[in-house]
Amino acid sequence: MRCARFPAPAFPPYICTMLVPTPYKLMQQQLWLSADRCIFWEEEKTLIVSDLHFGKTGHFRKYGIAVPQSVYKNDLQRLVHQLQYFQPKKLIVVGDLFHSSENKELQLFCKWRNDFPSLEIHLVKGNHDILHEDWYREAGICVWDEELSVPPFHFRHDLGEAAPISGRYLFSGHIHPGVRIKGMGKQSLCLPCFYFAQNFCVLPAFSEFTGTARIDPENGDAVFAIVEKKLVQLQ
């Protein structure tokens, strides 16, 4: 009686399911939004992702904080699935590809990189991308310091104070957008989301080991929340 152990609910093991992506038209371009937190740009055969924070679990673990490393493994696997599904030629990372300084987890990334030799990887530098330029070169990653332009789109890690460029739509990451959904009473949830405003969008963080920052969408903006591996358009 004294030490009745209360069973924690059982969580189903993670299953890599691939659901049909959601089509979205933007500046006459065909985009496919995936619930696995990335966008496929059909015309350019490009996969767009942001905030992968590779090496984050390793960084924590190096400092004695025992975060399960399977988060990272799963993030890598999800990316592989996306590459296999969409078969892109190019991968554009809108910043924070790596979380911190070099560690062994990045070796796993390099091994993974070798399995996709023909894939072009473009990294628009984010605040976490602090590795030496030689490292990126050796890993076959093309680095862009501030921004990257592939008309009619423009890529930049932090939306910040960036002035709008006429005729260009800006893709950004950095804030890990989340949308708050509130019901009657005290119920409320904050879900990662894609956020499309008038002339810019904010991508959800790809890594599952990231929190969210709440956004305040305006009327006319489009928001797609990620709910249990599915996309739900909220507005």
């Binding site: 059982a10 390793g58 988060v71 911190s100 509130k182 409320s188 909220l234």
Partner: protein, 815 residues
């Protein structure tokens, strides 16, 4: 001065080397009962040269939960030592002790060391700690009733087990252990917990000094006009002013910080001449200001202080003559403690006024009187299997001397907290601290505790340093400083509260209306505001549920009100002797309740079904406290929804709860006992209560204590930024990728034990099964249900899938 009988009794036991617990109220010389015992012991051991012997090494370890108490106790000890002409030194060691003093203590330990549980663990993190404790004769734990029932108590258990075994291994002796405790319902258990590592039962020394307590309720003039709930008792403020004026110093206890702000303002509005003579004291006020208030209290410079639980404990304020308790004190022990803040000397009477925040609360005053008379005081349940504290402790040992699991395991099993730990759990913990759970073998660099020749050690200086800074089990909310734009620090406030405000909005802190200007570098910049309206932060703390003891007494008083009412009505209009004044003035209210519905007797459970334009209400009154009601409401809703598909919203307070639906609620004589059965309780809880959300909240403290959350330390902020994560993120990650993690499981266990009070819930259901359930169908809202309606804290029960819920909610997208 003649010693009290209990002091002499304690000295006898100490002289004979026994251990035990001394139970005495504050202000009765309980400190001396153990301290003098230690001195007598020393004198007996060295009858010829006890006066000249110095540098004897540590003799007495005095563990106290409060830093503020250390100086006073130290002073009192030194006085006695001087009087006896002895050479003992008294040292203090806590977070305020400077490095020079610590170094001095390291070279030569004082004979008596006053220490907090946290600092004691820091001592265990020092290389060579076993040497320090070789000469130790007595471990005294002051205010053990306060520590018991908290994770700090677990820290004490662990430290005691370590010190006892260090001596056993080296010299085949062991120190005596003495706890000092106020009266609690489970004194025997308190002793068992503390002495468990010794393997002896020990003595229980009771003071048997009765302290006179006079309780007087502040009665509203007209009970019917008095608002039934929700006005914080502020309408009675004019009755408080004369009490303040006629007393030297008054402490006004308010249950929440938010309410204390409001009360402070109202007092100033009602009696402007009190400005400068009253002060506010609560946990969010800047420490310097709090210390100033405390000193002004000592010096009798203040007429009154509006305070929260922040002044429950600590040093005595001699000038305090009167205490006012606003609203329910929620428990007998807490009420007694607050009453004891006035008239502190043994022979003085403690005077306490009770000011109700709604009229039904007056019954609590009657219940409290009765409970005090019968000494019917709550128990403090010791915490069990706190894996977070254990993980912290293992790192502590790994920093200093290291540990060998096979040797440490039986030692841990000798403590009360970990005696039921299984080998499997122990194995999981060792795996967690050495290998860090699930890893990717060759790509992993996890590093915390290493195994070197069979000894578990931490060798990294950086990890060791960080661990030292994180020792402790008190986890505070993320706080933000509040400063004037023009400079000047006001206090601190919870980050989540500020993050909900926009610049230009006005809030109240430390008795001032402040307009938020901007947030910069983790500081909220504000300016003074003359706005009439302001947002008073509703702090999460302070929402203690009504205790089981007080609930029981309440039910008895309702019974009494019911029975006496009839005798009262049938004979004369003269009130009967011994009939509580509170119950008398509430007669109009009881009369209305009886007319509309029913006044439940002690062996009855009242259920009211009322239909209003809002829908169909079901009110249930178990008087078991908010937390039990919250869980019961969810379980009942779930059980009803199995009869027919139905959606409810909930509301609850300490007396009862409400289910509200847009369709009739199928509860009647035929099924009501079944709905309140204790069968299948566990599985019904899991299906109905959102334990995941609750566990997520509990996980925050656990993650900090267990070393998963890195709070950063000065000088390394920049690097530390890459190590930051929130508890809820970690909770999600562990839930998905390492669901069997012990810390995660602990968070569910804590929800189960503390949040839902499962034991109490089960006992309530068993009580209901053997009592009479009375269902009434009033035509309108009753006096009993009104406070619940007003308090309403709604939570929806839905069995829909998350996705559907989101779709349904999307229309109400919060912006």
């Amino acid at each position: 001065m003649r010693p009290f009988a209990f002091q002499e009794e304690a000295w006898q036991h100490i002289v004979h080397g026994r251990s035990g617990v001394v139970n005495a109220p504050t202000g009765c010389g309980k400190t001396f009962s153990v301290f003098l015992g230690a001195l007598i012991n020393f004198i007996n051991a060295h009858p010829d040269d006890y006066k000249t012997r110095s540098k004897n090494g540590l003799q007495l370890l005095w563990i106290t939960p409060l830093r503020a108490l250390a100086k006073d106790i130290g002073r009192a000890m030194e006085e006695v030592i001087t009087e006896l002409g002895m050479q003992w030194k008294v040292g203090i060691r806590n977070g305020d002790t400077d490095i020079a003093e610590r170094q001095k203590q390291k070279r030569q330990m004082p004979e008596a060391l006053i220490i907090t549980p946290e600092s004691l663990h820091l001592l265990l993190a020092q290389k060579g700690y076993p040497q320090l404790f070789q000469s130790l004769r007595i471990i005294a734990v002051d205010e053990w009733h306060e520590l018991l029932g908290s994770k700090r108590g677990v820290q004490v258990e662990l430290a005691v087990s370590r010190i006892v075994n260090v001596q056993r291994q080296r010299s085949n002796r062991q120190p005596a252990v003495w706890g000092i405790s106020a009266t609690i319902g489970n004194l025997d258990q308190a002793r068992e917990v503390l002495l468990a590592p010794l393997g002896t039962k020990g003595e229980l020394v009771k003071a048997n000094i009765r302290k006179d307590i006079v309780l007087e309720s502040i009665l509203p003039d007209e009970i019917e006009k008095y608002p039934w709930a929700g006005h914080l008792g502020l309408k009675l403020v004019h009755k408080v002013i004369p009490i303040i004026q006629n007393s030297r110093t008054t402490l006004i206890f308010i249950n929440t910080r938010g309410m204390s702000e409001t009360w402070y303002q109202s007092l100033l509005t009602a009696a402007p001449d009190l400005a400068g003579a009253i002060a506010l004291h609560h946990g969010s006020i800047e420490q310097e200001l709090r210390i100033w208030v405390e000193e002004a209290l000592h010096a009798a410079k203040l007429k009154a202080v509006v305070c929260t639980a922040s002044l429950d404990l600590g040093v005595d304020f001699r000038p305090v003559e009167t205490v006012i308790q606003v609203g329910s004190p929620k428990g007998v022990a807490r009420f007694l403690q607050r009453a004891g803040r006035s008239g502190h000397r043994p022979d003085e009477v403690s005077k306490i006024y009770f000011l109700p925040t709604h009229s039904l609360e007056l019954v609590e005053a009657a219940a409290l009187k009765n409970a005090i008379e019968e000494n019917f005081i709550e128990s403090r349940e010791p915490m069990l299997l706190c894996f977070d504290v254990l993980i912290q402790y293992l790192s502590t040992l790994a920093i200093s001397e290291g540990f060998i699991p096979e040797e440490l395991f039986p030692e841990l099993k000798s403590t009360y907290c970990y005696r039921d730990m299984t080998e499997e759990e122990w194995g999981q913990i060792l795996q967690f601290i050495t290998a860090g759970g699930t890893a990717l073998q060759q790509y992993d660099e996890f590093r915390k505790i290493e195994i070197i020749d069979g000894v578990y050690r931490i060798t990294s200086r950086r990890i060791a340093m960080r661990h030292r800074m994180h020792i402790g089990t008190i986890v505070s909310e993320a706080m933000m400083k509040v400063k004037f734009v023009s400079g000047g620090f006001i206090g601190v406030i919870e980050e989540w509260f500020i993050s909900r405000l926009s610049p230009g909005e006005v809030f109240t802190l430390a008795g001032r209306n402040l307009e938020l200007v901007a947030i910069k570098d983790m500081t909220a910049l504000v300016r003074k505001s003359n706005a009439k309206k302001s947002i008073v932060p509703s702090w999460q703390g302070g929402r203690m549920p009504l205790s089981a003891n007080l609930g029981k007494k309440l039910r008895e008083k309702f019974n009494e009100a019911f029975e006496k009412k009839y005798r009262f009505a049938n004979t004369t209009n003269q009130p009967e002797r011994g009939f509580d004044i509170e119950l008398q003035v509430l007669q109009p209210l009881f009369k209305l309740q009886e007319e509309l519905s029913h006044v439940p007797r002690a062996n009855e459970l009242l259920i009211e079904q009322i239909e209003t334009k809002d829908g169909f209400h079901l009110f249930v009154y178990p008087f078991e406290g908010r937390l039990v009601h919250e869980a019961m409401a969810a379980i009942l809703a779930y059980r009803i929804s199995r009869i027919t598909p139905i959606t409810f919203s909930f509301a609850m307070n300490d007396y009862g709860f409400e289910l509200l639906s847009d369709q009739p609620i199928p509860v009647d004589d035929s099924n009501v006992y079944e709905l309140f059965t204790a069968d299948d309780l566990l599985s019904d809880i899991q299906r109905s209560v959102n334990s995941t959300e609750m566990a997520k909240r509990k996980f925050r403290d656990i993650a900090v204590i267990g070393g998963l959350i890195f709070q950063g330390y000065p000088g390394e902020q920049k690097k530390a930024r890459h190590l930051q994560s929130s508890a809820s993120l970690l909770f999600n990650v562990f839930s998905e990728y390492e669901p069997h993690n012990l810390l995660l499981r602990q968070s569910y266990q804590e929800v189960f034990d503390q949040q839902m009070e499962e034991v109490r819930l089960r006992q309530m259901l068993q009580r209901i099964q053997s009592s009479k359930i009375v269902i009434t169908f009033p035509q309108q809202l009753t006096p009993f249900c009104f406070p619940i309606k007003v308090d309403s804290m709604r939570e929806n029960l839905t069995s829909e899938k998350l996705e559907d819920r989101v779709r349904r909610m999307q229309a109400q997208l919060d912006r």
